[in-house]
């Protein structure tokens, strides 16, 4: 006697296959947009993409020329916001993971971090306007916009840093404490050196997030147009207003009439490729680090 396939068994196998295909379809439906979007943006932007596009000033009321001041402005905003957010975020994560005890106050901080991450970007914009531009009299400036961005990126830096710190085994800490090292010596000597790469990965991810944000900088420091000397890296001051890639894309695609279509597409490509490359770099870094763990 052989075990022939029963009717029920066949049905079962068919169901299995259908399930797999349906769920695969759902997963693919998310991969497809990414490929299509990037491809379409590139296709439309092709005529204008050149080095000159990156380094030239916009001309003829932003209907011609390049995106240099926006590119530089984004660089300023991202750098300054991360310089502000990183130390605070990393220290806060160290507090949460290494110092805090499990009590109501710690839970309150966790709750605050979760909610800070969920605050809509436009509310961050209102906060930045009310707190930095108005109350602190910074005016609409790179500094005010960077501070707003910094507070926006803070909760994510806290979360990713905390995860990196938690990946260092507890036994290492206990071993250090039991030979008479203080908490800080343990953190400095063992915990940080073994989680720094994970922490960095999280911070790099925030580069792409900060670079893409528009709403928080719209009313706190970014402007439609600002003329700066071409080819100079230190063209902006802390209290200047600046252009930004994301804002520039918004402006030329909705506010300025009769812009040649390749121009906004070119800007979008530069913006998307910046964030995708940064993300890809951080993913690659993560994979590489996983492969050379020390324990």
């Amino acid at each position: 006697m052989t075990f022939g396939e029963t009717k029920l068994g066949r049905k079962k196998r068919r169901n299995e296959a259908i399930a797999k295909v349906v769920f695969l379809g759902m997963a693919l439906s998310m991969i497809l947009p990414l490929v299509l979007i990037v491809g379409y943006l590139f296709h439309q932007a092709w005529p204008i993409l050149s080095l000159d596009f990156l380094t030239a000033m916009p001309r003829r009321g932003m209907r011609d020329g390049g995106i240099w001041p926006a590119l530089l402005g984004t660089f300023y905003l991202v750098t300054i916001s991360l310089v502000i957010a990183t130390p605070i975020g990393v220290a806060a994560a160290i507090y949460l993971n290494e110092y805090s005890r499990d009590n109501w106050f710690t839970r309150l901080i966790h709750l605050a971090v979760v909610n800070l991450a969920g605050v809509p970007s436009i509310v961050h914009a209102l906060f930045g306007l009310g707190a930095f531009v108005m109350f602190a009299h910074l005016g609409r400036s790179i500094l005010a916009a960077s501070l707003t961005l910094a507070i926006m990126t803070l909760p994510v830096i806290i979360a990713s840093t905390k995860e990196a710190l938690a990946s260092v085994p507890m036994a290492f800490r206990e071993a250090c404490w039991s030979v008479g090292a203080t908490r800080w010596q343990t953190i400095r000597g063992i915990v940080l050196p073994n989680s720094i790469s994970g922490i960095l990965t999280g911070i790099i991810l925030q580069v792409s997030r900060a670079a893409g944000e528009t709403a928080p900088i719209m009313f706190t420091g970014a402007v439609f147009y600002k003329a700066i000397p071409e080819g100079r890296l230190f063209a902006y001051g802390l209290f200047d207003q600046c252009m930004a890639l994301s804002m520039h894309l918004f402006t030329i695609s909705t506010q300025v009439p009769e812009v040649p279509p390749a121009l906004p597409f070119g800007t979008a490509v530069v913006l998307v490729m910046t964030v995708l490359l940064v993300n890809a770099a951080s993913i690659a870094l993560r994979a590489w680090l996983r492969s050379r763990k020390k324990w």
Partner: protein, 251 residues
């Protein structure tokens, strides 16, 4: 003669569960003191009390008095001072993700020793004491975490000796290593006995019998009896339970 550790009416609770109930115990200097008992009997908790790492557990509470080298440990302001008096070896070997050299130099460095020559000396001395020097002297720069389990456990012992403690606590050190290495470390402990007080927590009663001059028997957080090891392993220990435990009738 002064005692290395004196424990008076020690009770420890984790939340609602009691880990140690009214334990009183004297541990003499420069001997190997064995602590035996089945799992969950409070042996490890006792060691955590002695170097105050119990404080790192959020829900632990403690009553009673503990004196280490004549000092009440809860009156020592800087807890790191106490921990330098007490070396601790955990059940599972923990090589820190540092070089072998830095594993041993970690504690003296953190205590403020900067002189390179003295550090070199200290590292060599401790590695020799732990019978590891000959195996690793040519590769002190390689990672401590890449050593074998038995080597890592000896590295852990070297690290526990590196801050020149007066007391060395070992918590079931042989649990994750092979019998040959276990025997080597037992030899090491016999050597060390003249220099430091050794508290040996073990789940292997025969190990206590081989090494310890005095032994305490803990059961469910209570001290059943303690005294000369020969007494506990004799035909007539003070408690019937001790007799049954050391002969493997339960536990």
């Amino acid at each position: 003669m002064q005692k290395a550790v004196e424990i008076r009416d020690l009770t420890v609770r984790y939340g609602a569960t009691t880990a140690l109930k009214g334990v009183s115990l004297d541990i003499p200097r420069h001997e190997i003191f064995g602590i035996i008992g089945p799992a969950q009997s409070g042996k490890s908790t006792l060691l955590k009390v002695i170097n105050r790492t119990l404080e790192m557990k959020p829900d632990a509470t403690l009553e009673g008095q503990v004196l280490v080298e004549g000092k009440n440990i809860h009156q020592i302001k800087d807890v790191t001072q106490l921990r330098r008096l007490v070396g601790m070896v955990a059940p599972l070997p923990v090589g820190l993700p540092l070089s072998i050299y830095e594993n041993v130099a970690f504690a003296p460095r953190k205590a403020g020793l900067r002189d390179r020559a003295k550090l070199d000396q200290r590292v060599e001395k401790c590695l020799r004491q732990a019978a590891l020097w000959d195996e690793v002297k040519d590769r002190l720069d390689s990672l401590g975490t890449k050593l074998s389990g038995g080597q890592q456990q000896r590295l852990t012992i070297a690290r526990a000796l590196s801050h020149e403690p007066r007391i060395l606590c070992l918590d079931e050190f042989s649990i994750a290593i092979d019998p040959v290495t276990t025997m080597r470390i037992e030899e090491v402990l016999k050597e060390l006995r003249s220099q430091v007080t050794i508290i040996l927590v073990t789940n292997l009663v025969q190990q206590a019998r081989r090494l310890a001059s005095q032994t305490a028997f803990l059961l469910n957080g209570e001290l059943v009896e303690f005294g000369p090891t020969d007494q506990l392993f004799s035909e007539q220990p003070a408690s019937r339970k001790t007799y049954e435990y050391v002969r493997g009738i339960f536990g």
